[in-house]
């Protein structure tokens, strides 16, 4: 009985994690893929590892450290690239390595063994706590409300920022705020897929969706669906095969992308002939 209850909890946790991860990653992923911010998001992800390291060292929740680092680096890059004091890709490249360096130094300095380090790098559902799931759930609600309420404003600023400035004085506020939410989404999903793999959780589902549609909100919906399918399948496979969950999820998503792309290509060839 003990085992059953444990397994039941484990399955519920995994299911909720998959749902919330696919909602948050689908919404945030569509935004970063459409705005071509994938590299920036990679920078945010790896910079946040610095926060994880400091979190360990200072004895606070590493997710909080990662969130602070993630948001600060996101805003920093947006700000620097607007001011054009430095090339954006260079700024991201520096930030990327700097965050990792800080993380490694502080984890090294932390006395004792740091058991969860691998889970932050590669993700592990086993170490995902209830509060992590709740945080992802809250984030899902925030993102749905934010993108639902401000859909047109966000869409038009992303599409044509210069034009948006002709009618709105809120362009910068929206850009910075949305980027902060993206950073937070990435950090919360690090628990699921890990620093190294989380970016794929955001970028693969929109790319699956964009095989079918080029309409923004439809991309979001298809991203969430394909993301959930890939995450849940990967989760189940990893459970039965006893292999790391983050890597399995990403592997599954890529396989889905390849299959869908292949079928789509085949249909195109057949219908054209």
């Amino acid at each position: 009985m003990e085992t059953n209850i444990f397994e039941y909890e484990f399955i519920i946790k995994g299911l909720l994690g998959a749902i919330f991860a696919s909602i948050t990653a689908g919404i945030a992923g569509t935004y970063i893929v459409s705005r071509r911010m994938v590299f920036l998001s990679g920078g945010i992800t790896h910079a946040s590892f610095g926060g994880i390291g400091i979190g360990y060292f200072a004895g606070i929740n590493p997710v909080i450290g990662a969130a602070v680092f993630g948001i600060m680096s996101a805003l920093g890059v947006e700000y620097l690239s607007v001011r054009q004091k430095i090339r954006e890709d260079s700024a991201i490249g520096i930030l990327w390595a700097f965050g990792m360096a800080i993380g490694i130094i502080f984890i090294y300095l932390t006395p004792g063994y740091t058991p969860n380090l691998m889970s932050y790098l590669f993700g592990s559902i086993l170490t995902v706590s209830n509060s992590d799931i709740i945080a992802l759930g809250v984030m899902s609600i925030i993102l749905i409300l934010y993108f639902g309420i401000f859909y047109r404003t966000i869409l038009y600023i992303s599409f044509d920022e210069v034009y948006a400035r002709t009618y709105s004085s809120y362009v910068d506020i929206f850009k910075y705020f949305t980027t902060s939410l993206i950073a937070l989404t990435i950090v919360l999903n690090i628990r699921m897929a890990g620093v190294i793999l989380v970016l794929s959780l955001l970028t693969i589902p929109p790319n699956i969706a964009m095989i079918f549609t080029r309409v923004y909100f439809k991309i979001v919906i298809w991203s969430v669906i394909s993301g959930f399918f890939g995450t849940a399948t990967g989760y189940i496979i990893s459970y039965f095969a006893g292999i790391p969950v983050g890597a399995t999820i990403i592997f599954t998503l890529v396989i889905i992308w390849v299959i869908v792309k292949g079928i789509n290509h085949l249909i195109n060839i057949l219908t054209n002939k």
């Binding site: 459409s34 401000f150 869409l155 002709t166 309409v215």
Partner: protein
């Protein structure tokens, strides 16, 4: 004809770099003005000042508030500002021209969508109303952005280098469309391509730090004789010419 806006001794700069100096300029209803001049001469800056994106350093810009406010200006920027691979449909882009009258929290009503349908129909875009931008040709994209600029029924239409992304097959259509629009709005069209500017333009403003205004058909035979000979330019073919006064 009433005045839409008037600039008086206006100067504008980016930092310490003065781009426009002592510009006095008046735009009337139904004007169709070609703004010409070299690159970096201040043409786009002039549009930015009119749009309220750049505060003048000195001088004044006064709108005739009976006819126009800063929400009744339509703007067609250079194509480079929008990402054509962005997943957004033709209808969505045309609708975005209404954002100027809406808040940050907004839904497009069915009357907004009807308005977009009318504009797309007028510009020959109905067939591709649900298409993403990257399936369109250059000329079609330009009409989409023109649709965005005019959906709000502006009194003044600002066009920044429309020649940049017109493909020549659409060029005539496009300028013909502008002539029709000119019946209900004033048009200010920036172009560095002085050579092939539209014949529908009624007057010219030369911008190169200062602004020099040329009313239409100003060159008379007397002017030509002032050069010491009756002809300064010889071309072959049937291309019509507009010759502006020296300044």
């Amino acid at each position: 004809m009433a005045t839409l806006f008037e600039m008086n001794a206006l100067s504008a700069s980016y930092g310490t770099n003065i781009i426009l100096q002592d510009v006095s300029f008046r735009v009337m209803e139904n004007d169709f003005i070609g703004v010409i001049g070299p690159n970096g001469g201040g043409k786009t800056t002039l549009l930015r000042v009119i749009l309220g994106l750049l505060k003048p350093l000195n001088g004044t810009l006064v709108f005739n508030s009976d006819l126009i406010d800063n929400k009744s200006i339509g703007y067609l920027p250079q194509i480079s500002t929008g990402d054509v691979n962005y997943p957004v449909t033709v209808t969505d882009i045309v609708l975005s021209g209404l954002m100027i009258r809406k808040g940050i929290i907004t839904r497009m009503s069915s009357s907004d969508r009807q308005k977009a349908d009318i504009v797309m129909d007028e510009l020959g875009l109905s067939e591709m109303k649900n298409s993403p931008m990257n399936e369109l040709s250059g000329g079609q994209m330009q009409r989409v952005f023109l649709g965005r600029a005019i959906i709000g029924d502006p009194r003044l239409l600002l066009l920044d280098e429309p020649g940049n992304f017109v493909d020549t097959t659409f060029e005539n259509d496009f300028y013909e469309k502008l002539r029709e629009l000119n019946k209900r709005m004033a048009i200010l069209m920036v172009s560095h391509d002085v050579g092939t500017i539209s014949a529908h333009i009624k007057s010219f403003a030369c911008v190169n730090r200062t602004l020099h205004y040329h009313p239409s058909h100003e060159i008379t035979n007397d002017d030509l004789l002032a050069y010491g000979c009756p002809i300064q330019l010889i071309t072959h073919g049937v291309v019509p010419h507009t010759v502006l006064k020296m300044h």
